[in-house]
């Protein structure tokens, strides 16, 4: 080989504590090095030009740059050598700034260390070989998982961009949590009024295929070419025939079915349509409460249905869809707040969650929009709102802020005053977090215009006073006093957690999730929509707490990522993937067992089992290489011999 070495001064960043000229001189003694120089700013235009010139002049076929971290400029210099006609992988970098000049002042030691790092880079480079990316086709179709507002937005934006969308929703209707809300902050406009049209758009858009009451069963493949198996759960109603007339529900004799859509604040029928604006507006039988399905006799709905859509024998069905990208928008759930024994642990009927309160406020809710106590149906006079129930509480393992509770609590107090003008509302809060546009003004309105009493402090206990009311004991930390309020109703702003089943889906999608089940974005700041699995994007609360505007924005952002990816007809892989030497492979399958990405499969070659890497799925971690005892599978650009060359440069 003919290797050129460039030692960068980085102005005085490196040169102040490293003798760059001496290091370049030492580098000349290394094997295959035919050219070595020290340069002032290697990354600057003249520095890069010097590299290109040297490649041409000295017929270099490999380049080592000793400068800053490769995390900073490896991509830069790879482009440089590529411009000069070399393969981008015939380049190595020695980090002599972050790892040398900036962390020690001993110039002799630093110079020696620089020379050794260059020697290691040269040793590795001598074992490098050119790598080229492979191209492959893209299925220009996207799967959106979750039909809440984030998923709806992502689906609509993709569909508008001309991409066919498969939208999978676990419940029988899309709309998610937003569909359950009465009004939205900070404008106090009707949630159903702004979400409803979007839901209708989903139903009507020619590019969107909606699978409601369905779940993702299996995901295989890789960016551009995913294959997704979807389980369509048995609804016991043939949706092809169901017109959504609701006659079944009117006649259903099983009227004591818990109403999940109404957050169990009321009862419904075993066959029902969750709410009038449901999309799709189709009936579903709750199998656990249907008399026909549990006891084998009833059949009222089947008799009632004018289109004969009822099918008690229906089984789960499966469809497989081929897509190029996946957007996960699985949303959230309220955490199980009953761990708070001091708030009654779910025992006191008039201590309810904020989402239950939304249903009480909602005109389409179980009380028709009248605020009444679940225990006795009386209108409450004093309502206490407690924030951060299950948020920012390390004692129960929930250290994070749920993000939007401060705002909806303010909204709920305002709505309460509108509904019950003579009522009094108290809010126990830790801090008011209202950083959005018009948000702080909104909370101030609650305090200043609606006379809501905000008390900064926590509630230590709630207990019934024996007379039908509740004593709320708390602290007012601003006044340094204990507070006791006799309340008729208590509303808990319950913290959120990732949707039920989120980790399981993450494993199917091969994306990471945090300790609370929220999906991990690729980079907290710079890649908030991407995941570590190429082609899988995130939208909405599944990635972390966010309110409606942010969820919608992220839905659009995910769609933008999808559209950008689909703007190309072919995709390229990163060629730093594992490669199998089939002569050495004995087909023991240890690599297959370990691969975190399912990127290795068992294939038969001339009657023998051999490992085969799916290059487009391989992410280049090298776990397989460390696992294979005979070294038959080697991660390109980090092969055993390449790493051994570096070890041998240091230890012999």
């Amino acid at each position: 080989m003919r290797i050129g070495v460039f030692i960068c001064h980085c102005g005085s960043n490196i040169a102040a504590t490293v003798d760059c000229a001496k290091a370049a001189e030492i580098a000349k003694s290394f094997p295959d090095v035919v050219y070595a120089a020290d340069t002032m700013y290697t990354c600057a235009e003249p520095g890069q030009a010097a590299i290109e010139a040297a490649i041409h002049e000295h017929k270099l076929d490999g380049v080592v740059v000793a400068s800053c971290s490769p995390r900073m400029h490896e991509a830069t210099f790879r482009r440089t050598v590529e411009r000069a006609g070399l393969n981008r992988y015939m380049f190595e970098m020695a980090n002599i700034r972050e790892h040398v000049s900036w962390i020690g002042k001993d110039k002799e030691a630093n110079t020696n260390k620089t020379a050794e790092l260059v020697k290691m880079a040269v040793a590795k480079l001598r074992n490098n070989s050119p790598l080229t990316a492979k191209t492959f086709d893209v299925t220009k179709k996207v799967l959106v998982i979750g039909g809440g507002v984030a998923g709806i937005q992502a689906a609509l934006d993709c569909a508008e961009g001309g991409v066919p969308v498969i939208l999978v929703e676990r419940e029988s209707t899309i709309g998610g949590k937003m569909a359950k809300l009465d009004k939205t902050f900070p404008t106090v406009d009707c949630s159903a009024c702004i979400l409803g049209p979007k839901m209708v758009d989903v139903a009507q858009h020619p590019n969107i295929t909606l699978y409601a009451y369905s779940e993702v069963e299996e995901v295989s493949g890789y960016v551009g070419n995913f294959s997704v198996k979807i389980r369509r759960r048995a609804s016991y109603v043939d949706w092809e025939k169901c017109t959504g007339c609701g006659a079944c529900s009117e006649k259903c004799p099983s009227k004591k079915t818990p109403d999940a859509f109404n957050e169990f604040t009321g009862l419904t029928t075993a066959i029902n349509i969750p709410f009038p604006q449901a999309i799709p507006k189709k009936a579903v039988i709750n199998a656990a409460h249907c008399r026909q399905l549990t006891k084998g006799k009833c059949g009222v709905c089947a008799k009632t249905c004018p289109t004969g859509a009822i099918d008690y024998a229906m089984q789960d069905a499966f469809v497989t869809e081929e897509v190029g990208c996946i957007v996960a928008a699985t949303g959230y759930e309220l955490m199980d707040w009953t761990v708070y024994q001091e708030y009654g642990g779910g025992v006191w009927p008039d201590v309810i969650t904020s989402l239950q309160y939304e249903r009480l406020l909602s005109a389409s809710g179980p009380t028709g929009g009248h605020i009444v106590r679940p225990s006795d149906g009386r209108e409450p006079q004093t309502i206490v709102f407690i924030q951060c129930v299950g948020s920012r509480d390390k004692s129960i393992g929930r250290p994070y802020c749920s993000g939007f509770c401060c705002m909806y609590t303010a909204k709920q107090t305002i709505l309460t005053k509108d509904h019950l003008p003579w009522s009094r509302s108290y809010v126990f809060y830790m801090d008011i977090r209202a950083p959005g546009k018009m948000y702080d003004e909104f909370t101030r309105r609650a305090v200043e215009e609606y006379g809501v009493e905000y008390i900064r402090g926590r509630v230590s206990a709630i207990y019934p006073d024996g007379q039908g009311r509740y004593v709320v004991m708390g602290a007012d930390t601003l006044l340094g006093e204990q507070v006791e309020i006799k309340a008729d109703m208590v509303v808990l702003a319950v913290g959120i957690e990732a949707a039920r089943g989120a980790p399981g889906l993450a494993e199917k999608l091969r994306i990471s999730y945090d300790a609370y089940g929220f999906y991990m974005e690729s980079h907290v700041k710079l890649k908030p929509v991407e995941t570590n699995t190429a082609g899988v994007f995130l939208a909405g609360v599944c990635q972390g707490a966010k309110d409606i505007p942010a969820s919608v924005a992220q839905g659009s952002a995910a769609a933008a990522k999808v559209l950008a990816l689909f703007a190309r007809d072919k995709l390229e892989n990163d060629p730093q993937t594992a490669q199998v030497d089939i002569r050495r492979c004995v087909g023991c399958g240890k690599c297959i067992r370990c691969c975190p990405f399912g990127a290795i499969k068992d294939s038969e070659i001339r009657g023998e089992n051999k490992a085969q890497v799916i290059e487009t799925v391989c992410q280049g971690c090298g776990l397989c290489t460390a696992t294979c005892p005979q070294g038959a599978i080697q991660l390109a650009h980090a092969t055993d011999n390449q790493i051994l060359a570096e070890v041998n440069a240091l230890c012999r």
């Binding site: 024994q341 001091e342 642990g345 025992v347 206990a461 709630i462 207990y463 019934p464 006073d465 024996g466 007379q467 004593v471």
Partner: protein, 303 residues
């Protein structure tokens, strides 16, 4: 069956009725409580507030004596004693602390102390609900009882090992086994004011009043306690509490052993009921009335 027992100072004075009823009820349950020899005060409230090591030394001496007697499990009635003994045992697990305390005591103490637990837990471990039920001679079904543990019995949870620190339920089980109607009493672990009855009389009165008020509002016939100090604040100072809340209370405050003793058919004398400031006559009357009503209906049935 013999159990090593640490009575604590109150048992010999202000809560002699607790002691008397405890001995009586345990006796009926075949729990023979045997005092450890030459025990001393646990240090009560003041000691640990002044010096942790000196306080631990007082307890360690008791624990060491018990250990030397070969005791495996030591029972005590008073939550304050229990707390002190258990805290000391925990702190003594630290070898350095152990060494310093040994120095204070002029004697090396045992490396392993017996486990200390409350008489209430001891009782529950000794016999099950059915066994307790077998001893019931008086039907308490007419009574609504408010179980009140006080703040000390279950806290801190990691030291006291008394179940859910906010919502212990052991007393409910025992009272329930005796046939009483036990109220879900939300303030069961709230503070009564404890030893602040003297320096902060107003505050104590207010705290006790809250408990008494709730019990009254919930139409409890009595508050049942397990702590001498709670009993004193709620019973002896009931009038002070009433004054502070501008209310009137007439709430008997009995030790759980006293009400169990009543259920077991023991007499008021056996249980030291005469020591109560708010008498239990009303309770006894209600039990009796209910019993005669039942007899009446039973006889009526015969007729």
């Amino acid at each position: 069956m013999n159990y090593a027992y640490y009575p604590g100072c109150s048992a010999k004075g202000s809560s002699a009725d607790y002691e008397k009823s405890t001995q009586a009820v345990c006796g009926m349950l075949d729990m023979n409580l045997v005092d450890i020899r030459d025990w001393n005060c646990c240090g009560s409230t003041p000691a640990h507030a002044v010096n942790t090591e000196l306080s631990a030394a007082l307890c360690a001496r008791n624990l060491d004596i018990a250990a030397q007697q070969g005791v495996q499990k030591l029972l005590t009635s008073c939550p304050s004693c229990l707390s002190n003994l258990r805290h000391a045992a925990k702190r003594m697990e630290d070898p350095a602390f152990h060494a310093r305390v040994d120095e204070l005591l002029d004697n090396p103490t045992a490396l392993k102390f017996p486990a200390v637990t409350s008489v209430m837990q001891g009782m529950a471990a000794h016999c099950d609900a059915d066994e307790i039920g077998r001893h019931v001679r008086r039907n308490l079904g007419a009574l609504s009882l408010a179980p009140y543990y006080g703040c000390l019995m279950s806290r801190p949870a990691e030291i006291m090992d008394f179940g859910d620190p906010e919502n212990p339920t052991l007393m409910e089980s025992l009272l329930g086994a005796c046939g009483a109607k036990v109220l879900e009493f939300p303030l069961k672990t709230s503070c009564c004011g404890a030893s602040y009855g003297i320096p902060e009389r107003e505050m104590t009165a207010r705290l006790s009043a809250r408990i008494l008020q709730l019990a009254t509002d919930m139409e409890a016939d009595a508050i049942i306690v397990a702590c001498p100090l709670c009993q004193m604040n709620l019973d002896l100072r009931q009038k002070q509490a009433a004054n502070s809340a501008d209310a009137r209370f007439n709430m008997p405050v009995l030790y759980f052993t006293q009400i169990m003793g009543l259920a077991f058919g023991l007499s008021g004398d056996d249980l030291g009921l005469d020591k109560l400031r708010v008498g239990a006559d009303g309770l006894l009357l209600k039990i009796e009335q209910a019993a005669s009503a039942q007899r009446g209906s039973a006889e009526g049935g015969k007729a």
